[in-house]
């Protein structure tokens, strides 16, 4: 049988020969799976670096008068921590990493729409990451990941390096967004209508336009900052007629959607993991898909809730406040649907499932404090304090990073053919929960009681809870260390997983682990949703996938 199935978008299908050289296979690969794994490895390396910076912050805050590093070094450290966690860790892991490895497999495609573009997207990222970290050599940025001018205009030359590096990461993100949108519109297997698409792909479909559209606003803002710093073109300096508030608008027009870039794909992972281990369909498939899209849309309309104290015209505060409250509705629907998915299940508590359930609880808490912050009168009190730090770490660590862990335990066997160690994994989960909550829960009341963010020294009455937070953060770091040990150990020594260790029903579990270069011998036809456990699989054309039947490398 020749491989001439036609994709939903009408693209003729054929299999390319696999490149043979090491460099073409593993370095400059155009295979989405390899590129995804490259993203994951690079992202995890930056997670280690940015995590070390986090521990410098917490060590400094062990004492009310600091003293571990000088204030100037401290300012560089937390600025680089924030910048690298957002742009070099969470976004690449969750879009470039898991999106690349899993999404094309789940829609039954052989690769993304533009494999060469995909390779370019990836290779921009480590270069930009190295640029960002090398800014330490010339005086790293100090004004936080938000880099508000005029402070960022005053700071050392590293800030220009920062702007250039983030610009490059933005280019990489934009290209990935375009690639994913085209892939999902044009390359779904026959029969895979949008209403049969797995929820992880729906989450990527909600995220990709954010990557494409929002990132351009950031790019413009960064280009202007760079030109002002290097060539004196006045965009932001008020003494030359610029507007510092313009930066805040453009920055948050990107960075609020970026919050959803960082968390929507994690929502998608959770929506895949919960049904598999509860052995029952995801509850409210359409509502979860719809809520992802509405969160993405609303995400564009709420940026100024970061600027309630920035002299926004008072009447403009109201629509931003109310629209932000509105996001609670689709988010609530998701949380309730996930909870209901557990009801009546036959739940298997693998490490991946533990992280998925933990995600729902922690993200609920982060979502609730998000509503607090959206309320203008309360925001006047806690804006710029540790309450904000606590909130977004619950969303980005309790949410996104927990999602990354859940997804890694879940899809590691698909990527490597081996299972991760479950015992070590469970230790990782429980120690992480303990350390994480101990680190960030006290920061809520620290902020409300009067501790501002971005300070190397603080009111001595807060010493106890800061020490509590710092010591818990060491516990959290230890848990993450266990995770990395587990990954490294399991690559060589993990139990062989076979194609489908968890009994998953989405397409990626129906092919060998790790999948072949071409993914599918024949592009399958899809007849239904992938969540009906106990029923026959809704696919045809997969009969030969797990056999030794020959593959037809087709000419055009």
């Amino acid at each position: 049988m020749s491989a001439t199935a036609v994709h939903a978008g009408g693209i003729a299908d054929h299999i390319h020969a696999e490149p043979q050289g090491f460099v073409r296979r593993y370095i400059f690969s155009i295979d989405h799976k390899i590129i995804g794994i490259q993203y994951l490895i690079t992202g995890f390396v930056f997670l280690i670096l940015a995590g070390m910076l986090a521990e410098v912050i917490r060590t400094q805050l062990l004492h009310a008068n600091g003293g571990f590093v000088s204030p100037d070094v401290y300012n560089e450290v937390y600025s680089m921590h924030g910048s690298s966690m957002v742009w070099l860790v969470i976004i690449p892991l969750i879009t470039g990493g898991f999106g690349n490895v899993i999404m094309p497999l789940q829609i039954g495609a052989r690769d993304v729409a533009f494999p060469w573009l995909n390779m370019l997207s990836f290779w921009i990222f480590p270069v930009a990451g190295l640029m960002l970290f090398s800014s330490f050599l010339i005086g790293a940025p100090v004004a936080g990941w938000t880099e508000y001018p005029p402070m960022s205009l005053q700071a050392g030359p590293g800030t220009s390096m920062w702007a250039a590096a983030i610009f490059l990461v933005g280019v990489s993100s934009t290209l990935t967004g375009i690639n994913f949108v085209v892939t999902m519109f044009q390359m779904r297997a026959p029969g895979m209508t949008f209403t049969r698409m797995p929820l992880f792909c729906w989450a990527q479909l909600a995220t990709a336009p954010l990557l494409m559209i929002a990132t351009t606003a950031l790019a413009a803002a960064l280009a202007a900052l760079f030109m002002e710093r290097q060539f004196g073109v006045p965009f932001y300096d008020p003494t030359k007629g610029g507007s510092p508030v313009m930066w805040q608008h453009m920055f948050w027009f990107y960075s609020h959607p970026a919050v959803y870039i960082m968390v929507l794909p994690a929502f998608g992972m959770i929506s895949e993991i919960l049904p598999v281990f509860a052995r029952k369909p995801i509850f409210g498939y359409k509502m979860i898909a719809f809520s992802s899209m509405s969160i993405a849309l609303l995400g564009f309309m709420v940026w100024a809730h970061h600027m309630f104290t920035s002299g926004l015209a008072p009447f403009l505060q109201l629509p931003f406040m109310i629209l932000t409250f509105t996001i609670a509705i689709p988010t609530g629907v998701k949380i309730f649907s996930w909870t209901a998915t557990l009801w009546g299940g036959k739940i298997h508590f693998t490490t991946s499932m533990l992280f998925a359930v933990g995600f729902v609880g922690l993200f609920a808490l982060g979502g609730i404090t998000g509503i607090f912050l959206a309320a203008v009168p309360f925001d006047f009190h806690v804006h710029g304090t540790y309450f904000v730090i606590a909130h977004f770490h619950y969303v980005l660590v309790g949410g996104s990073l927990m999602g990354v862990f859940a997804g890694t335990y879940f899809w590691f066997p698909k990527m490597t053919g081996r299972l991760m160690n479950e015992t070590l994994g469970k230790w990782h989960f429980w120690i992480f929960m303990l350390g994480f909550n101990g680190t960030f829960l006290p920061q809520h009341w620290l902020g409300m009681l009067g501790m501002p963010r971005r300070v190397p020294e603080y009111d001595p009455q807060f010493t106890f809870w800061n020490d509590f937070s710092s010591i818990s953060s060491y516990v959290m770091t230890f848990a993450i260390l266990l995770f990395f040990i587990n990954v490294l150990w399991s690559i060589r020594n993990g139990k062989k997983s076979g194609p489908n260790p968890w009994g998953g029903r989405t397409l990626e579990w129906q092919i060998p682990s790790p999948p072949h270069y071409y993914n599918f011998k024949h592009i399958p036809t899809v007849y239904g949703l992938p969540y009906d456990f106990g029923q026959p699989l809704p696919y045809r054309g997969l009969e030969e996938e797990l056999t030794d039947s020959p593959v037809h490398v087709g000419a055009h």
């Binding site: 204030p71 300012n75 508000y148 005029p150 402070m151 005053q154 008020p238 510092p244 508030v245 509860a278 052995r279 029952k280 369909p281 409210g284 509502m287 920035s310 002299g311 008072p314 505060q317 109201l318 406040m321 409250f325 509105t326 609670a328 509705i329 609530g332 629907v333 309730f336 649907s337 909870t339 209901a340 557990l342 009801w343 009546g344 299940g345 036959k346 739940i347 508590f349 359930v357 609880g361 607090f372 309320a375 203008v376 009168p377 309360f378 006047f380 009190h381 804006h383 710029g384 009341w445 009681l449 009067g450 501002p452 963010r453 300070v455 190397p456 020294e457 009906d532 456990f533 029923q535």
Partner: protein, 378 residues
Amino acid sequence: MVENRAAAVSLGRGFWTVTAVLAVLSVIGIYFCYAEPIDLIMPAVGAQPGEQVDTLLRFMMASGTALFIYVAGYLIYFSIVFRAKATDGPDAVGIQIHDHNVLEFWWTLIPTLFVVLLSILSVKIWYQIQVAQPANGLVVESLGHQWYFTFRYPQVNGEVTGEMHLPINQPVVLNTTSSDVIHSFWVPAFRLKADMIPGLINTIRFTPTVIGRYPIICTEFCGTDHGMMNAQVPGENGKANPGAEYVVVDSPADFQKWYHAVQLKNANASNALPSTSGTISLAGGDAAAGQALFQQKCSACHAIGPFSQRIVGPGLKGVLDDPTHPKLVDGDAATPADVATILQKGFTGDLGHMPDATQNGLSDKDIANLVAYLASLK
């Protein structure tokens, strides 16, 4: 399938018991959110409309607590009750239910109603803070600098530092801005904050209601010593923080006393903006005016005596003539221009830190007068 349908009718072992327990826990949680003293988590209120903010906080905490108790409670309960048992075969599956329209309708409608309710309450309190404040009030200005705040009052010359006094129960209109980068003016006890943005005037309005001394905290990163722009942070080596600044709420009588004292003290201060760069013209310096100004602005730290007579800084008698007086700026004997430079730009040396002209509120003319006065001391 028949078996599954039968199972779908029963909600599971103990479902209603758990629901009732969660309801009780929620009620306890809500009660605690309303009954707990607010100073467990917030500084005591010192101004209106701080209490309304606390009302909103209690409402959000109560509803958030109830929501979280239900979500976490059901997550834990389902996780325990619906675990796969050893007796379940490897192919055992859960109840194959895809959705439930009535349930989804309610869990969409209830959050929507909550959002409507919260919006109404928030808008009401927003209106109190932003719109319904009294039209007249004491107008005060605050400027952020790297790394201190200064204050300006009507009919007070120059700037005031250290303490911003306000009379109790009188509405205040506080206009804020910045002379360099973005700062933020936060008094936690007032529940209010304004970013101080260069080139913009950002206004907050409130009425102090409790006599006291409230620390001012900068909450927008503004450079190296951002952390020191917080009256609660001690200075280096356990000394007092020289940058500690407070809002002081006085009785009307105390406020009047302070206000008149400041008016007198600053009588000769200039309202002209000081220049911190460029060369100051010393021509036409008036030694008599300089002497008056010295008494007000300098005598707290400097004596008119020999160099060794220190208060904070050295004694200044004969600073330009005394050959034993240490050579100041460039190693040569001090000239009037050197002294003017120190007055203009401040100086940090072995003896400590001398603030610059902005911080001391000195105009170019003031500096010329002071130099003329110091030159007249033989």
